[in-house]
Amino acid sequence: MKYFVRRLGFYLFTLWAAVTINFFIPRLIPGNPVDSLIAQRKGQIDSKAVESLTVLFGLDKHQSLASQYFHYLGQLLHGDLGVSFQNFPEPVTTVLGSALPWTLGLIGTTTILAFLIGTLLGVFAGWRRGTWVDALLPATSFLSSIPYFWLGLISVAWFTGVDSFLPNSGGYDPGLIPGWQIGFIGNALRHSILPAATIIVSSVGGWLLAMRNMMVTVTAEDYITVAHAKGLSGRRVMTRYAARNALLPSVSGFGMALGLVVGGTFLVEYVFSYPGVGLQLLNAISGHDYPLIQGVFLVVTVAVLAANFLADLAYMALDPRTRKEG
């Protein structure tokens, strides 16, 4: 329980740090661009939206920084992230609400799949050390050195075309209306095959190497020798004794690596014009849509923290020491 509470405290602290970074960044922009954007839209934005943007971007210079800050926190607690300039007059929360499921679906599935595949291969590579499997290691590091987005570009060039089964961009065909019908889900799945494959191929290598190195380290432990000496089958020693213990650092690294994975997958969304949060972020940046930029950063951070928390729960399930009272 102590472990659990400590992790929860850490996440709350990180969340606070992210919110604070988000508070200060727009205040560092020289010659506040939000001001001019509001001026451009004068007459179109209602006074309530102007007020919320004023709080978010510190346009009210008469207030002290501290009171601006508390005002800002209060507004976030009400779920008000301001109005998106590009998708005017939609609030940022609506824009994010429609983009988030795509990203969660794509990143969630592919990251977990890549982790499982990479770890399984890593168990094998670590156990069969000193055989031909070692020769494959430089190849995996080559694969993981390829930027996600470049692999995406290549796969678009190779696998898509006018008559190809695989579409080259978007999350679904333009004519369809998003919903839970079979036709739409099938279409969305078809659109997600290439982006997903891209992410999996370029992220498997990292997990593989990490797991392989842990396996190699673990196999020298006494309990492995004991397990062998007891006459247990090699497979049993590999899975129940070596792999289970070697898995622990990978699981705790899983959450931590997510922060990096998210960045890479954003670029994949960009290459495939996949309608997720990453595409929204990059569009928002080119369109100087500051409220949306802020909102994306906040939402992504919260999502990564939540995923970290789930990884912690998995770690607790795997490692009995964390469940110990006291």
Binding site: A18, I25, W150, N213, T225, G234, G263, V271, F297
Partner: protein, 313 residues
């Protein structure tokens, strides 16, 4: 810690050789380039030929020259950000590992926060805010956000070194904290510092290229991401101009591979168990075979063929 000097493995040699080539091009790329990378010509969208090794762009610019000239920016940002991040990592990691109590814990929490917060979105946002986003600015931003992994590794190692006898002895003999850290602890962290430096260089290179690719960083200087940015923007894929984006991507992958090959070598110095061992099958006196595996007790198998389970019976 004394490293057992041996011939560097093939992996490390290849990695270092590749790095040397890239460094050479970084210094002399502009002189080697056959054309001015920004100069337009009439050879529009030409496939690779003797005249233009990597073909040309929609404006008739020579892609080979763009890649050569762009190497400098990539290597500069990679190494500058790597040095900055490693300096911060050493400072924070070693301090937080050596100091006990609240100070150490809070520094460690800070680095964990930086690990968990998604780096690329943060860097994209900050770069977008920075008015002059040249190579120096980008290297600084990446360096200031990419140090946390290294700090975490260094802290873990420092924590374990702090308990070792030689450190205890140095403290007991009245050496100053500063001296203990610099002369007793730091030399033992060399390998980890080196490997986290290389990791950060890789991260910085990837990030810089990503920034240029999405068009966030300025377009004043050529780099590989810049080439890809134009290739994507001008629909190189739809035009079938594969030569426009393949060379840049391969260069990125080669540089990344070179760095990780060197890192393999460092890992193998730190943890000798990771060294690949050749297949060593030894014949026993009675003709049965034993396979030697590092980390396993060799056992004579009953059957003549060598089972894959080294310590089978």
């Amino acid at each position: 810690m004394r490293f057992h000097l041996r011939m560097p493995s093939l992996k490390v040699t290849v990695g270092l050789a590749l790095l040397a080539v890239f460094t050479f091009v970084a210094f002399f790329g502009s002189a080697l380039a056959p054309y001015d990378p920004s100069k337009r010509s009439r050879d529009i969208l030409q496939a690779p030929s003797g005249k233009h090794w990597f073909g040309t762009t929609h404006l008739g610019q020579d892609i080979f020259s763009q890649i050569l000239v762009g190497t400098r920016s990539v290597m500069f940002v990679g190494f500058a950000a790597g040095i900055l991040a490693t300096a911060i990592a050493v400072l924070i990691g070693v301090t937080s590992g050596y100091l006990s109590g609240v100070a150490g814990e809070s520094l460690s929490t800070v680095s964990n926060v930086f690990i968990v917060i998604p780096a690329l979105p943060l860097i994209v946002i900050v770069t977008n805010v920075v008015p002059d986003s040249g190579d120096w600015a980008i290297a600084t931003v990446i360096g200031c956000t990419g140090w946390a992994w290294g700090a975490r590794l260094l802290r873990a190692q420092t924590l374990s070194l702090r308990q070792r006898d030689f450190v205890q002895a140095a403290r007991a003999s009245g050496e100053s904290t500063w001296r203990v850290v610099v002369f007793e602890i730091l030399p033992n962290l060399t390998a980890i510092i080196a490997s986290s430096f290389i990791g950060t260089v890789m991260f910085a290179v990837m990030t810089e290229i990503a920034l240029a690719f999405v068009g966030v960083s300025g377009i004043s200087e050529w780099n590989w991401g810049e080439v890809l940015f134009w290739a994507q923007g001008q629909q190189a894929l739809a035009l079938g101009a594969w030569w426009w984006f393949v060379p840049a991507g391969l260069c990125i992958a080669l540089l990344g591979t070179a760095l990780s090959l060197v890192n393999f070598g460092i890992d193998e110095i730190v943890n000798p168990r990771l060294r690949s061992s050749g297949r060593a099958v030894v014949k026993a006196a009675d003709g049965r075979k034993v396979r030697m595996r590092i980390g396993f007790t060799p056992v004579l198998s009953q059957s003549p063929d060598v089972s894959s389970e080294g310590g089978g019976r």
